[in-house]
Symmetry: C2
Subunit: 413 residues, 2 copies
């Protein structure tokens, strides 16, 4: 084979974890362990930091059954990081160190499992390696509950979070409407710039009981219209359930939640949070009604027990295809999904996108899927998301509690 490249591989995970990012890592690890071209499989401890710190786990020494449990283990089993790589043209210190580690372990394949920022990191490493002359193939494996990666129909991790949100919103709505005296409930859902997750609350309403109103960051938020919307439904039904995206903002771009905190993460993004209680306080003051704010917080991104089996399978597929494509000569690409429905059923097919076309772009909910009143999403969104959340995970249990992977994490010498 003309493209044959023999050597070790590294898989790293980065950014905020999801319920299925480990299924992708397992897709990489299992396929790599079975590949004739890949001599050794290393897991980077805490993403690229594990490479920089020479902290690599030897995955060849792991038990096959425990590795397989990664299919149902939430969070990033190898550890994650939020580490912004410098532009290699400005400061190549980190890149030289990475090259040194690649050479030390004869790493010829690098798989990076993450979201926007991780694809940017993977792209920079790929370009540096190409220039350096060290033959190595870099592939991005997508991950993000936010569903905001450019060029792919959807992202692994999104559907499981959407299913968690839909189910939880159904349950909350059942609970929040139990008394005969009025109550207003405001549910805060993750999503800084894209509203895919908050929009998923629509599923609860379509198929049972869910929020009356949904506000997304794709459109400007207006406090007076919001109060009027809530009041109108309260007057009609005596109860209101609202879903809001953490990233809703006023017309001038200010986040509605911003006043609450000024902390930022490693990438300089403002850390949002506390929006539900902020809005609850405002609505309580303006209405005199009992208002409860609920933040789904980390629960929505780590709820593996409520994952979509479709999402798990696709997450695994993304990792598998990344390895197969790299072994076949591809590099500098991210695995992406396309939707195939010509027979009337949903099928997911993979494609490869240049990392440069993915990194640092954000895919948002189409404006046509948001109602003109800017307080709900349309059935077109439901049609889009419904096939993605199908299938119940066969989560291994012990004592009726989840049994997660227990890896040995033996450091490579």
């Amino acid at each position: 084979m003309a493209n044959e490249l023999v050597g070790a591989c590294i898989i790293g995970q980065s950014g905020g974890p999801t319920a299925v990012i480990n299924a992708s890592a397992y897709g990489v690890i299992k396929t790599a362990l079975e590949s004739d071209c890949i001599t050794r499989v290393y897991g980077a401890a805490h993403g690229i930091k594990g490479v920089l710190n020479d902290k690599l786990y030897d995955m060849n020494q792991e038990d096959a059954y425990e590795l397989s449990l990664m299919m149902h283990t939430p969070s990033s089993e190898l550890g994650s990081c939020r580490y912004k790589m410098a532009d290699p043209d400005v400061d190549d210190t980190d890149y030289k160190r990475i090259l040194e580690i690649f050479q030390k372990y004869n790493v010829r394949y690098f798989f990076y499992n993450g979201g926007n920022d991780s694809m940017d990191t993977c792209d920079k490493i790929s370009r540096f390696m190409a220039k350096s002359g060290w033959e190595c193939r870099e592939m991005g494996v997508p991950k993000t509950i936010d569903n905001d990666l450019y060029g792919t129909d959807h992202c692994p991790g999104f559907a499981s979070a959407a299913k968690y949100i839909a189910t939880s919103c159904m349950e909350i709505t059942k609970d929040a409407c139990v008394y005969d005296n009025g109550q207003i409930t405001i549910i805060e859902i993750m999503g800084r710039h894209a509203g895919w997750l908050a929009a998923s609350a629509k599923l609860a309403d379509t198929f049972g009981s869910g929020p009356d109103l949904i506000y997304l960051p794709e459109v400007d938020f207006d406090m007076e219209s919001f109060i009027a919307d809530v009041k109108r439904i309260y007057d009609e039904k005596g109860k209101v359930v609202v879903a809001v995206s953490e990233g809703i903002h006023y017309a001038d771009g200010t986040f509605v939640a911003e006043a609450k905190t000024s902390a930022t993460d490693g990438f300089g993004h403002a850390q949002l949070g506390g929006l539900a209680s902020t809005l609850a306080n405002i609505v309580r003051e303006r209405s005199g009604v009992k208002v409860r704010g609920i933040e789904l917080s980390l629960l929505q991104r780590c709820g593996a027990h409520l994952a979509s089996q479709t999402d798990i399978d696709e997450a695994f597929l993304a990792g598998k295809v990344a390895v197969e494509s790299a072994v076949n000569g591809e590099t500098g690409k991210m695995v992406a999904f396309a939707r195939e429905t010509s027979d009337g059923n949903y099928h997911c097919v993979t494609k490869l996108l240049p990392l440069t076309s993915v990194a640092n772009f954000e895919k948002k909910v189409p404006l046509g899927w948001i109602t003109p009143e800017k307080n709900q999403v349309t059935d077109a969104f439901v049609e889009y998301v419904l096939p993605l959340i199908q299938g119940e995970p066969r989560l291994p249990l012990e004592h009726s509690l989840p049994r997660y992977a227990r890896l040995k994490k033996i450091l490579a010498k």
Copy 2:
């Protein structure tokens, strides 16, 4: 049969809902519909308020399959209320009205499904009816996630909430420990005066990954000891996960959360909440570390998808036994549970307790199950709770989302 009493029955639900209170109501409704002595089954809309307002649903007109879905439908399907009944010796207006409704519909059986306050209501009605000369049998069907009802080994609703909390704490701990830089996570769990729910976080730690520290309202909370505990574990592991009961209080009885809100519910209980963010702010200021507060909020009490099948079955049993006992002549009692383990396995057997002995007492976590450091619970608690959370619910799904009961709720004439 000497005790034979023929007439209609009313089932009402009261207080905060749970994941399995509808299984109890279904136990009452199904058994009553099948009973020869019970001529008609009415569901009171919003508990005792439905009786006072002559708003009774005719359960005989419901579809049997939809009724059966109550086994997996969270919240109180008939609606709930928080309505404090006056002492009948002081003001018997409400009781006279209830008697009028009982006579109008020939109600000879009254089943009240709720917690402490509901047992008090049921007891008062029972005593009034006995005095009034209207032959009627009143039975309490226990419900409370708080597990604080006196005289019963455990309460329907508790185990499902405990399982939700244990699973969610496992998932949160996986997520919260993913980065290599430090993070402290504080999880707020329901429980005003009894710490059974917060203690359930121990299951996560015992069987996977869970909170390092647990604080219950059974013992006094000391802020300096808490900060020292957190600091010690942070210095050791670089990450800390803490579970706190919403009702933790200082030695003088002041709730730690109290400063945040002064709202009260219908019974004059202080409405707690916001404790997680209060503690997170304090720890952040004192440690300089990133701290996240997470409130499990309503999710923990309505998480039917993660219910314990043992709990569902026992909740149904409690309703069934209440009807059977009343038909056999019992009145003024609550169905309670005893634990039978003589063959080494867990079995739940029912017993009847006088309502007067149950109402307004609170059962707390034994002090011997709390560590001397007041920051964890012992294995004795795990032994107690583990059998209760066993079994996965066969939750009916449509489109991979829960399919709840859809009752017609036709008002009785």
